[in-house]
């Protein structure tokens, strides 16, 4: 087990390094130039372009910039934004928890809705409940986040006025204000995942008809004990796999949701970085997100072993 984990960690490190390199190159291939963005059109005299380029260290060859960046990176320094001239590390650290919070809240919400719905559907297989769950799951899966998000803003923010439609306040300043602004984006993000979980849980729970469960029933166990004690643990593995993979894509899927709700997480930071050609910011965000994604997958793989005693890593 230890050897396996170490090997996977090493692979992950290589992968993260590859991503870092790729992003450093790709981001510079986008047409446009941070110096031109900073100066705009009314100010970009050749002298000022040259001056700013020097001040920002952009006059150096790309490979030198890249090596310097790697050098700082191994020391844990993510560099300085070209546009705001602020250190990226602290800004990123301020935004990362907000995106994680959104992702975790969406996942919990999706599990809270999807899992019971899936179980209910499986237990009432081919009944009206099953049909309703299937239809809702399909809706959740297929509604694009920008449609769902806009709809939620319209209904809850503008018509019913139960939640603020947009924005963000710190948890420490105003806990309810914070949570009430979290709910709509989290729900938007959770819809598709809840749909997937419900479908997955339903099909995984269809083991209910299998022999070992008939045996369980035959020895007099209640249906509740059969479902939760024997069927669910078996059904959980695919569900966990789905949650793991989906959480990773939630990190990416939050881009649009953060934008619609003006949630100041990593995605808006990334978008802003791209829009301004703020190379170090884009590199830092992509690096952190992909590292998270890779680690999340690793954790998912490892968790199988805990859930299913038959899976062992050597």
């Amino acid at each position: 087990m230890g050897g396996y984990v170490l090997r996977r960690l090493a692979q992950s490190a290589v992968l993260i390094f590859a991503v870092a390199t790729l992003v450093a190159v790709l981001v510079r291939l986008i047409p446009g130039d941070p110096v031109q963005v900073l100066l705009g059109e009314g100010q970009a005299t050749p002298e000022r372009v040259r001056l700013l380029r020097e001040q920002l260290g952009l006059e150096k060859p790309v490979h030198v910039q890249y090596l310097e960046w790697l050098g700082r990176l191994v020391r844990g320094d993510l560099g300085v934004s070209l546009i705001s001239r602020r250190a990226i590390g602290p800004d990123l650290l301020q935004r990362l928890p907000r995106t994680l919070e959104l992702t975790v809240a969406a996942t919990l919400l999706a599990l809270a809705v999807g899992l019971p719905a899936g179980i209910l559907a499986a237990v009432n297989r081919n009944g009206p409940v099953d049909l309703a769950v299937s239809v809702l799951a399909l809706l959740g899966l297929s509604a694009p986040v920008f449609v769902l998000g806009t709809l939620l803003v319209l209904v809850f923010g503008l018509y019913l006025r139960v939640f603020p439609a947009t924005g963000f306040v710190d948890l420490t300043q105003d806990p309810w204000g914070h949570v009430s602004r979290l709910l709509l984006p989290a729900a938007t993000l959770a819809a598709a995942m809840a749909g997937v979980i419900a479908r997955m849980a339903r099909s995984a729970m269809l083991v209910l008809a299998e022999d070992y469960l008939r045996t369980a029933r035959a020895k007099g166990l209640t249906e509740r004990a059969v479902v939760f004690g024997h069927a669910l643990p078996n059904a959980l593995i695919p569900v966990v796999a789905v949650v793991g993979v989906q959480m990773g894509s939630l990190l990416g899927g939050s881009v649009i949701v953060e934008y619609i709700f003006n949630w100041p997480g990593l995605s808006t930071y990334l978008l802003q970085g791209i829009a301004q050609r703020d190379y170090p910011v884009v590199q830092a965000v992509v690096l952190v997100v992909s590292a998270l994604f890779i680690l999340l997958n690793l954790l998912t793989d490892l968790s199988y072993g805990l859930l299913d005693p038959r899976i062992r890593y050597g």
């Binding site: 970009a44 602020r86 439609a165 003006n262």
Partner: protein, 458 residues
């Protein structure tokens, strides 16, 4: 910039009607055309507690003039040859030549007065803000929010009224409108034109508006076919300005058929009105005269990032088709567009701009040889340069008006740009927000200067 105006003061500033009024300077005189003497306010304190004196003025202006700093306003106030501290509360500017527009530029937020002590200690104004303004900077998270609080020692008695101001970044226009409708925020800028009417109908919302920014076409005059003024003029007749106003700005604009100096300005020249009207026949005739009677195919640079730029380009494309010109659109995101503009990599482009000062000298930035704009499109005309320079160094307003009239006529004739429409610029606020004023013309973007007089009605 909005934040700059709250944290700092200038020697002078723009006020409600677009006039230049005293700020840190109490009064000034010009004993001769190349000398300005400013008498400074006493008892003003910076946010770090230090006293404001003439030394701060000298340090701040010298910083702007230092080519190594790369300050925005350097080119505009370069006529300042020397800044002399006469005593703690008197400062003298010696100019290399008379400059009628100097105060108009000094009133811009970019000419804010910083603390000399802060600058000498190596402080970076990009990172920390030590000013004398009505509000102090509490915290800043770029792209998210900036928090300001009242400066209790502000030199204007009883101002500001607000204890705390939070600037929130809402990059998406629809989210911005949702935020004001839902009451998540008290005030928004840049109301999208499609939503202005709906917001005006909301009982709890008020809208502040004015004309100021304008849309135009900029031609790269280095290359065919736009090296020929007849082609550029033809485009000026081919575009139906009213359809841009209707389609792009939902009726919220006015066609520009004459010069760029706005109607309410002293330098406005009414005789130029009607120079360019919608006249496809005239456009066709001019194209034929220029040798493009059999049709023409050109590329139009615009950006897909801003709806108004893209839609204007589409209207232009549509109108030009009617005079036998096929336009291929090149739509990029904004940074790429800026890049192509600065490198001159376009045939012609759509642009939205605004005069930055309330003085016709704003034309210098757009049309003077070697300005960033002419460097981009290759336009250079000795007569235009002469008129711009002479008008800037002439102090007599009547004489200046005549010079600018002549200049604008020449610009319309040469048509390095074709002016299309004024567009409305609006802010929206909840009704309880009182005391704000939308400044006229291109000063719309410095309207937040009035924030120190804003209060919330209970």
């Amino acid at each position: 910039m909005n934040v700059k105006m709250q944290v700092y003061n200038g020697l002078v500033r723009y006020w409600r009607k677009g006039e230049v009024v005293p700020d840190l300077a109490e009064s000034w005189e010009t004993p001769d055309p190349t000398t300005y003497i400013f008498r400074l306010r006493r008892g003003v304190k910076f946010h770090d507690g230090s006293d404001f004196t003439a030394r701060d003025v000298k340090a701040s202006l010298e910083r702007i003039l230092d080519p190594k700093v790369g300050a925005t306003r350097r080119a505009d106030i370069r006529d300042i040859k020397e800044i002399v501290v006469v005593d703690d509360y008197t400062v003298r500017l010696n100019l290399s030549r008379p400059n009628a527009a100097l105060l108009a530029y000094l009133a811009r937020p970019e000419c804010a007065i910083l603390s000399a002590r802060f600058l000498e200690a190596g402080g970076d104004p990009n990172v920390r803000a030590v000013g004398t303004g009505p509000f102090r900077l509490v915290s800043r998270e770029p792209g998210v929010r900036i928090v300001l609080e009242k400066n209790p020692d502000y030199f204007r008695q009883g101002r500001p009224y607000l204890d705390r101001v939070v600037f929130m970044a809402y990059p998406d226009e629809n989210t911005r409108v949702t935020a004001i409708r839902a009451g998540d925020v008290d005030f928004i800028e840049y109301v999208p034109w499609k939503d202005t009417a709906a917001l005006q109908r909301e009982p709890h919302i008020q809208v502040f508006s004015g004309y100021g920014p304008f849309m135009c076409l900029i031609f790269n005059v280095r290359q065919k076919p736009f090296d020929d003024p007849r082609v550029r003029r033809a485009f000026g007749y081919a575009v139906n300005r009213q359809s841009i106003i209707d389609v792009v700005f939902f009726g919220r604009g006015a066609p520009i058929t004459g010069g760029l100096v706005p109607r309410e300005h002293w330098a406005y020249n009414p005789n130029l009105e009607g120079t360019y009207t919608y006249d496809p026949n005239r456009a066709r005739a001019l194209l034929k005269e220029a040798g493009y009677g059999d049709g023409l195919r050109v590329r139009l640079l615009s950006t897909s990032q801003y709806g108004m730029h893209q839609s204007t380009a589409e209207v232009v494309q549509n109108d030009l088709k009617k005079v036998g010109v096929q336009v291929d659109l090149e739509l990029y995101d904004w940074p790429t567009t800026v890049d192509k503009h600065n490198k001159g990599e376009y045939q012609f482009r759509v642009h939205g701009l605004a005069p930055e000062v309330n003085d016709p000298d704003f034309l210098t930035q757009f049309f003077r040889t070697d300005s960033p704009y002419t460097r981009s499109n290759g336009f250079s005309d000795p007569e235009v340069d002469r008129l711009l320079d002479e008008a800037r160094s002439t102090l007599d307003q009547g004489r200046r008006k005549a010079l600018y009239g002549e200049l604008e006529r020449r610009l319309l004739e040469l048509a390095p740009w074709v002016y299309l429409t004024w567009r409305e610029q609006s802010e929206a606020a909840l009704k309880k927000v009182r005391g704000y004023e939308h400044l006229p013309g291109g000063l719309a973007f410095v309207s937040a200067i009035t924030l120190e007089e804003v209060w919330l009605e209970a």
